[in-house]
Amino acid sequence: MAALRVKGLHKQFGNTEVLKGIDLTVRNGEFAVLLGPSGCGKSTLLNLIAGLEAPNSGTIEIAERVVNAVPAKDRDIAMVFQSYALYPSMTVRRNITFGMECRGVPKPQQLEAVARVAALLQIDGLLERKPSQLSGGQRQRVAMGRALVRDPKLFLFDEPLSNLDAQLRVDMRTEIKQLHGRIRSTIVYVTHDQIEAMTMASRIAVMNTGEIQQFAEPDTVYNKPANLFVARFLGTPPMNTLKARLVRDGDGLAATIGTVKLPLPAQSDAARAFVDRDVFLGLRPECITDSGRPGALFEAEVLTIEPTGAETIVLASVAGERLRARVSPDVRLAPGQRTTFLADTRTACLFDPATEKLIA
């Protein structure tokens, strides 16, 4: 059963088309992440799902019910905001019960629900405090508590971790993931942080300029990006996309960049159609390294080196194409030096330069 089904959703603000026909189906119990750069429309999409804004066209179904005309409060959703949006004048307890109070839930039931959520999130000791007396992490928990207490059909998270400092963000990330594992509710989670997306999502919807570029499992989005945008958006550093020419190489195919020839694994018929034509060769930085993997050797000029401790990121140039490689930290390189790299092409992707789509 689909917890959420969005069909042909359009949204305009004045003359700006923010969403250009969004189709999205989120299954029951799924943790769906909307990922994209600022201004891609992900928060607008969330607001439309929540009923805080109205679409120009298209339909939104929550638990198989069309909710276009249903006000936010009756959509059976709960929302966690980036700014937490805790009511400043109310205690934590009041913040959590306010929604139930509005819906006329009897007092004993409210108390019971607060106790349950407080235990779940370990905020028992904070119930009589005001939001101004809480730390960032505690506010974050209370905001989650306010959502959890409702036991809704759908949880909506709008960049809930982006106001936390780095360490806390990592902790809360783990905690939200564990929480989802325990309560198994459906979550739509908006973020611009790809680590959050990769670590938490069952599926990631990568968005750009008001369109969903790809909606798939993190693994697929990472290894088989649907187009150049996704390839270049995900990963730190992102996938190398090198202008190359596809040529026959014995029985198989190879990609040539200038004089460098990189043999490719067995390719589909679609890829074979591109023989003797230009393509973009997509190679993750971890597939270009110094040793420890099978692959073809090639020479490139080192431009800059960025040691990160566990590994060193090398920006290098081959036949005018720039690429990033991940090498072991004990390989000492200097800018300007020519050195040999190893290209592991087993997970290489090919993109059509005209459509920018993955050649599958």
Partner: protein, 285 residues
């Protein structure tokens, strides 16, 4: 470094002190005169140190001095002013809060135009509104009543209070409103439970502003009320223009002026403190 600064700083203080004295001079003269008898003032001049403390001036001004053939001092007029200022302040502040809340946080079609029209009221001169109000009061049969002044000050004050409240509420994060909508709070519940508890700082400012403005207002009071219906500002003029005896009672007049100024000063002193406290405690995240 400190020594080099010192002469400049002394000069600054001297200049500031000079200006302060100049500003306060009328008040000082009035305070001194309120303790001098008419005979004493008549013998020397309006400016002089009191020979003794003539407390009689104050009791006369409060309860016995004759104003427009009524010898009850300014007390009844002070009461009139209170009857006018309390409801008018409460009503205009309440309306401004609701209007400011609607305009800033509920956003409706044409809200900026409505706001612009309301705020225009701030810039219209009082004199321009005299005749329209005269017509309205005649239609409503409110001429020469305190109720008329309440109505006028409520309507006139609405522009200011709306402006104040709207500009304060615009700082309340939109996420808070969204959270309230998801929680199922409607227009009035959101106002009552979420927005109003955040409002003391601006409501105190608005109340100080309205109370002071309405209490001190003179033109409407003197135009639309006569005799026993007048607010104290109009009565003070009546004291000055109708001397009860041959001697001009400058001492009593001074005491009356000071008595009439006490309420606004009290509001300022107490409210100002609350205002500062509210600014730091009610901070919206």
């Amino acid at each position: 470094m400190d020594k080099a600064l010192r002469p400049g700083r002394w000069l600054t203080y001297a200049i500031l002190f000079g200006f302060a004295l100049f500003t306060l001079l009328p008040l000082i003269v009035i305070v001194l005169n309120s303790f001098r008898t008419a005979v004493e003032i008549g013998r020397s001049s309006l400016i002089g140190w009191p020979a003794g403390l003539a407390w009689r001036n104050w009791s006369e001004a409060w309860g016995h001095f004759c104003i427009a053939q009524r010898c009850e001092g300014i007390r009844p007029y002070m009461e009139n002013s209170f009857m006018m200022v309390v409801p008018a302040t409460i009503l205009s502040t309440a309306l401004g809060a609701i209007a400011g809340y609607s305009i800033s946080l509920w956003r409706f079609r044409g809200d900026t135009i409505v706001f612009a029209i309301v705020v225009m009221g701030v810039f219209l001169p009082e004199q321009m509104k005299l005749i329209p109000w005269a017509l309205v009061l005649r239609e409503l049969d409110l001429t020469n009543t305190i109720g008329a002044l309440v109505l006028i000050h409520t309507v006139q004050g609405f522009s200011f209070t709306t402006l104040f409240c709207r500009n304060y509420y615009i700082g309340i994060p939109q996420d808070l409103m969204k959270a309230a909508r998801v929680d199922g709070a409607g227009y009035f519940r959101t106002f009552w439970r979420i927005v109003l508890p955040l409002s003391p700082p601006i409501l105190i400012v608005t109340v100080i502003w309205q109370f002071t403005g309405i209490w001190n207002e003179f033109l409407f009071g003197v135009t639309f009320t006569t005799g026993g219906q007048q607010p104290v500002t109009a009565a003070l003029i009546a004291i000055a223009t109708t001397p009860a005896t041959d001697v001009v009672e400058y001492g009593i007049e001074s005491a009356a002026v000071l008595l009439a100024a006490i309420p606004t000063l009290l509001v300022y002193f107490f409210g100002g403190r609350y205002f500062l406290r509210g600014l730091t405690a009610g901070a919206v995240k």
